[in-house]
């Protein structure tokens, strides 16, 4: 009798727990429609949102930017630095039931490197080949001793493990139906509409999964995204801007969380790329431009003082920041003097700006500030595709761009400022800097890394191939029904740990 009663009680409790666990659908408003959901080709920041829910990575970084295990349990860099051993978590399955093995990791890494047009290739340049040591142990044999950097890259899209069986079956079309090993499995996608994912029953960390379903809705207009949040249509609204915030302060159903962003906004100067580099080639001219700009006033007026002023590729509170080169105050007299010395007292140049509100407004401010120093800056608006093209070809004098940022400082500087860096549209080339940055990739000493990056920052501030202006903060609006949300500097929403009250 008592046994029967106990069973009944247990059943009731489980049922009750079950309903508590059944947490309905969480709707997240993202700022644009993501591109294909295949880790190999995914580029846009918005793509990371649904991919993070669908595809777990070998590692992850926490909010302190430290590497933590995810699909892998641990890693070890060989003493000579030329190989990286990764031990996988046992018992992990892909959404199609296939097990995660070292062979799968090898397959995925090969796929990332060898697929034509792969966007992950540049993140895996250090990898010579991948070897299977045993079913749960992988060895990455390296061309250069950049093991730590590789680990950080494996904590990003390059480390997202897809099911080899599904990848082989779907080929190019994998992005339409991704099969990975994350907490949620892909259900459906309406192009430019919603992306729907549902809870994966066999996930290795089931208890951390709250909502049964998640829908990602692209809403490009932040005003409309906020309206949807306030009306309860979505429960999370990403990428809010400082000017959006005041209207949310009074709303009891909504709260805003924020954290410093990893990226930076920069005006890049054409120093060596083609004939148009003549205008700003003299470093004194570039220093004059910087001297005429008041970053703090701009951030205060335009962004309610919610963004951070900056002048280096990491924000001022980062351990890699060079404190001997702080953010300068405005000095119009200095600007004018530098221009006279350079022989161009009436400097005129054109800044290319995309049709994006924050940069447009900032450009107009800067235009006014420069005018007071006798500098005429013309603003030319171009769409992104045109600007990318012009940047590559050197058809610019200055362009206003931003970088979304990576957990490892290398990701913020190597491709952008080394002589061969693909994103170095300035074609700025400093051998000393290249050597420092290469060494920084390879060293295993955090101490040395800090010293090197600080020096790198110092060099870049002095040479000024670009003028970094500010670092954003990420603002995410949350319905009070959502708990467990931790904002991350890389702006990606981690869905594990979220829970949704009814």
């Amino acid at each position: 009798m008592t046994r029967g009663l106990r069973l009944l009680a247990l059943a009731l409790m489980m049922g009750w727990a079950g309903t508590a666990l059944a947490q309905g659908t969480l709707r997240i408003g993202i700022n644009e429609d993501p591109d294909a959901l295949d880790p190999v080709t995914n580029r846009l920041a918005s793509g990371r949102q649904p991919l993070t829910a669908i595809c777990d990575k070998l590692f992850d970084v926490n909010t302190d930017l430290e590497v933590v295990p995810q699909l892998a349990e641990s890693y070890e860099i060989a003493p000579d630095g030329m190989s990286l051993i990764v031990k996988l978590r046992p018992g992990v399955r892909f959404h199609d039931g296939e097990p995660l093995t070292a062979e799968a990791v090898r397959f995925v890494t090969d796929r990332n490197i060898n697929t034509p047009g792969s966007l992950r290739r540049s993140e895996l340049t250090a990898v010579e080949r991948v070897e299977v040591v045993d079913p749960l142990t992988v060895r990455f044999v390296l061309k250069r001793p950049q093991g730590y950097l590789l680990v950080i890259n494996l904590a990003e899209r390059a480390g997202m493990m897809v099911s080899p069986k599904a990848a082989q079956a779907l080929g190019d079309r994998f992005g339409t139906q991704p099969v990975c090993a994350g907490p949620y499995r892909f259900v459906e996608r309406v192009p430019q509409g919603r992306i729907v994912v549902e809870r994966f029953a066999d996930y290795w960390d089931r208890s951390a999964v709250g909502p049964d379903r998640i829908e990602y809705l692209p809403i490009t207009d932040s005003t409309v995204r906020i309206a949807a949040l306030r009306s309860g249509e979505i429960q999370i609204a990403e990428r809010l801007t400082p000017t959006d915030l005041p209207q949310l302060e009074a709303d009891p159903n909504v709260r805003v969380v924020s954290t410093a962003d990893l990226g930076y906004h920069i005006i890049r100067f054409n120093t060596n790329n083609g004939p148009r580099s003549q205008v700003l080639r003299d470093v004194r001219v570039r220093r004059a431009i910087e001297a005429a700009v008041d970053r703090q006033a701009m951030v205060t007026a335009l962004f309610e003082d919610k963004y951070l002023v900056g002048n280096q590729f990491v924000n001022p509170s980062s351990p890699y920041y060079d404190t001997t080169h702080p953010v300068p105050a405005r000095d119009v007299a200095l600007a004018q003097r530098l221009l006279r010395e350079a022989g161009t007292p009436n400097l005129t140049f054109t800044l290319l700006v995309p049709a994006e509100r924050e940069r447009q407004e900032a450009a107009q401010f800067i235009q006014a500030m420069l005018a007071e120093a006798g500098i005429t800056m013309n603003i030319e608006t171009q769409d992104n595709a045109t600007m990318l093209n012009n940047g590559r070809r050197g058809q610019f004098e200055a362009l206003f761009t931003f970088w979304s940022g990576r957990a490892h400082p290398d990701g913020n500087v190597f491709a952008h400022f080394t002589c061969q860096g693909p994103q170095n549209d300035s074609r700025y080339c400093n051998e000393e800097l290249d050597a420092i940055l290469t060494r920084a990739r390879e060293t295993t000493s955090e101490e040395e890394r800090r010293t090197l990056y600080r020096r790198a920052n110092g060099i870049l501030v002095d040479d000024k191939p670009g003028m970094i202006l500010w670092h954003r903060r990420t603002f995410t609006g949350l319905s009070t029904r959502v708990s467990g949300f931790v904002p991350h500097p890389d702006s990606t929403i981690r869905v594990r740990g979220l829970s949704l009250q009814q």
Binding site: T223, M298, Q360, E361, Q364, E380, D383
Partner: protein, 293 residues
């Protein structure tokens, strides 16, 4: 011979008195007069902007960002601290240009082609009409975006795009008028007398086309003002810091919650101008053809 001359004499439009009659009819409609005066007022303000506007419309002032309307700034300030009233006043230039220039450009291209097409007929007509239909089927926004990307976004490129979009309608009108005229007796008579095609086009076809063309022009002008505002709203027209009512609305939209006054003035002023053009156009139509009242 005599009958031909009589036919000619009767058919040559007594343009002078007709013009006077039209203007008189126009002036007798209070709505048209008011609308005309409003348009005139806009033109005066646009021309006199340097003297009327209280502040420099392009001067950013980071201490005055998004201030509400006050005695110093009647319409408040915008997202970089510029005086909204001054920008409205200066912005009249772009909007008026956008109303007039695309229409003029379109007429320049479509009237000769339309008359040619309707008058000549045959395969010339065939080809021109197919291209016209094709143009009509392409959304003007695509043309605008492409032009903006190719030539750089600015007011003139936006106006070219709007002009291209307006060509088909004017072309069809001109063609219809030319086809109708071609069948008229007086044209036959003129040919018999030995008038060249060109002379016929100028003296006979064009004057008869004028009424419907004028009316359509006013309709298109109203559309053009809104189209320019739409393109500027999308970031494809007049670029900041140059003032344009459409781009002001673009900025206003982003700051709707924090600074709603930024949206009121540009929206209202576009509305008033377009209503005035439309009312004037209606009046013009009624004055040109009293039977339609």
């Amino acid at each position: 011979m005599a009958s031909a001359t009589v036919a000619l004499g009767a058919a040559i439009p007594a343009s002078d008195s007709r013009l006077r009659r039209t203007v008189r009819r126009l002036l007798r409609q209070p709505a048209s007069v008011v609308a005309g005066l409003i348009i005139l007022a806009f033109i005066v303000v646009a021309i006199g902007a340097p003297w009327i506007a209280p502040y420099d419309p392009a001067k950013a002032n980071f201490l005055l960002v998004r201030k509400a309307p006050s005695v110093a700034h009647w319409f408040g300030t915008d997202e970089v601290g510029r005086d909204v009233l001054s920008r409205i006043i200066w912005g009249a230039r772009s909007s008026l240009l956008a109303g007039a220039v695309p229409v003029v450009m379109a007429l320049f291209v479509s009237v000769p082609l339309g008359v040619l097409s309707g008058y000549a007929g045959g395969w010339v007509d065939m080809v021109i009409m197919r291209v016209t239909d094709a143009l009509l089927a392409i959304p003007y926004l695509i043309v605008a975006i492409a032009l903006a990307a190719f030539l750089g976004p600015d007011l003139w490129n936006a106006m070219i795009a709007i002009a291209i979009a307006s060509v088909p309608i004017f072309l069809r009108l001109s063609r219809a008028a030319a086809m109708a005229a071609r069948a008229e007796d007086y044209v036959e008579a003129a040919r018999a007398v030995g008038s060249s095609h060109l002379r016929i086009a100028f003296r006979h076809i064009l004057p008869n086309m004028l009424p419907p063309l004028l009316v359509q022009a006013s309709v298109m002008a109203a559309h053009a003002v809104i189209a320019e505002a739409s393109l500027s709203f999308l970031g494809l027209g007049q670029q900041p810091p140059a003032p344009s009512w459409g781009s002001m609305l673009n900025a206003a939209q982003r700051h709707m919650a924090a600074a709603p006054w930024m949206a009121v003035a540009p929206g209202a002023v576009i509305f008033v101008l377009v209503v005035a053009i439309n009312v004037f156009g209606d009046g013009l139509r009624d004055a040109l053809d009293p039977k339609r009242r």
